[in-house]
Symmetry: C2
């Protein structure tokens, strides 16, 4: 993988419009949830884009599908490879299944069996490697060299970013003008796509990324002007432990207004609020965007705020094991 | 409480239309969820009416509100009483708060503190009694005699039944004709209301009640032609442990096509499916209606089936305690 310094951004309004059209037959037009209680707590009008109800339970399906739909026939026939033990793995696996594109996913051999099984369940080939960056990159390079596979990176890929941009685009179509759009930031694909979509249509709308305090690499990167790696952050928001990619950062550094952080306690509070009061199964990475709303940390009282609930894939095994032990 | 033998049913299409109009400013028009995966598993087109997203998280708000809205001014000023440790308690408490009607709820002193607090949180007065039927009836009778309160029974009340009827009425407005409508049956208010609404508009549409195998009093009652009490059933579906009321039974015995049952294992499977795949927080009583769909027990392959997800109030305390212990 080459390191680019502030690469040019090849995505504008027309590329996002094309992605919206390209994806329309494939993605769910996810609903927007609102709640009187949330509005009261936040002191604002909040519109939650429910990407937990997207296919595979996460916005990641948009980017993966947008990337595969643009491969030429030879690349489709050869297949694609990625590295992920999260939602991108399942997203790419389903996209490949729908389009008849073979998918190989490189995962650390420490990835939970439930995630391996979910990805394999969509027909992808799982290649396990040691849980180091070097082993992962070697495995991916080997798949590309030996089999001619195309890499579909989880976030450092313009077609993936353009796909993720369609979530906020849809949200604006559904609810009209917004004063701010708030999304979680991990590798930066969703935040970069959101910034491109929102600023193309409404430059004055604030675009805000939120990340765990314990994984505040985006905040530090925006402050220093270069990508600050995230180390191995211990946060419940497992989707947000990644460092920023250079392509997302090229967008984020120019177009994102602010990075906010959420404590672990605030994330758990928001998660519980979303489950108990809104009856939405979301993953901790999604609760991260609701935390600063409940804490009123954004100084947006009385405004119209959009937020993307990025996914709903959470391991409910222990909860249901306890229920089964009690009742069965 | 007098025992009536097959009382006349004073609710027809016009009473339900009036209830729909009366409730419109107060209830949420809850969304209808659909799922490709559910349709594949069920072999049918399934439309889930999300009353877990109703105010207080359950359809019960419809009936409670419909009853309070029809009280005369003197009765409103005096206040109302009910007995419930479940969703009806919270529903009546919120309805009373919205209309300025004092609400007293008689609960067994064994009711979980979390449920007492939720009901008190809406401003209701809680009166605890010993956990016996005799103590409960004595407490309610005492409130009525001493304070002139009006009883709003959780299900044995025609205004409550007419209110519950509006959920299926709305569902038909939202999705068009259905071959069958499936709802859970506990005391019978929702099932009776659903039967009245559905049969008024579409006599050929099947109305099916589902209850836990371990609480199969409705099935036995429909078979014998009289109310068979339910004893003290041990089922995870805590909303469905009640015996049928005579007013609901007067409707159910005439207009319900069938009672189906679900094993505890099937209920837990359906609950997990709804949480994991549909990302909907529902309570076990709601999962009961999805269980026979997943098991294909209804012989409705290829048909259009509506089902009411009755509520979403489930104690997530242990789940979040475990998360907090791990991450905070």
């Amino acid at each position: 993988m080459s390191i680019e310094t502030s690469p040019a951004v090849p995505i504008g309004e027309s590329q996002i419009r094309e992605a919206v059209e390209r994806l329309a037959p494939w993605v769910h037009l996810t609903p927007v949830a609102t709640s009187r209680t949330l509005d009261e707590r936040a002191g604002a009008s909040v519109f939650l884009k429910c990407e937990n109800l997207q296919r595979v339970g996460a916005f990641k399906f948009r980017g993966a599908m947008n990337a595969l739909l643009q491969l030429d026939d030879a690349s489709k026939a050869a297949g694609v490879v990625t590295h992920s033990s999260g939602n991108h793995a399942q997203a790419l696996a389903l996209a490949g299944k729908l389009l008849g594109v073979p998918v190989t996913v490189v995962m650390p051999d420490t990835a939970p069996p439930i995630k391996q099984a979910a990805t394999a369940g969509y027909g992808a080939t799982i290649r396990l490697c040691e849980p180091t960056l070097a082993a992962r990159e070697a495995a991916v390079a080997d798949e590309i060299a030996r089999k001619g596979l195309t890499l579909v990176h989880p976030f450092n890929d313009w077609n993936v970013i353009a796909g993720q941009a369609t979530a906020a685009w849809e949200l604006l179509d559904q609810v009209g003008p917004l004063d701010a759009v708030v999304v979680p930031v991990g590798g930066g694909g969703l935040l970069a796509g959101t910034a491109l979509a929102v600023k193309a249509r409404s430059p004055e709308t604030l675009v805000i990324g939120v990340e765990p305090e314990r994984a505040d690499d985006a905040r530090r990167s925006l402050a220093s002007g270069r990508i600050e790696p995230s180390g191995d952050p211990q946060t419940i928001a497992d989707g947000l432990r990644t460092s920023l990619g250079e392509r997302p950062f090229a967008v984020i550094s120019r177009q994102v207004d602010r990075i906010e952080t959420a404590s672990e306690a605030a994330i758990v509070d928001a998660l519980r609020f979303l489950w108990e009061r809104l009856k939405l199964v979301v993953e901790p990475s999604s609760a991260v965007v609701v935390a600063p709303l409940l804490e009123r940390k954004l100084d947006l009282e009385g405004r119209r705020i959009g937020a993307v609930l990025s996914g709903g894939n959470v391991d409910l095994g222990p909860f249901f094991d306890a229920l089964a032990a009690r009742w069965l």
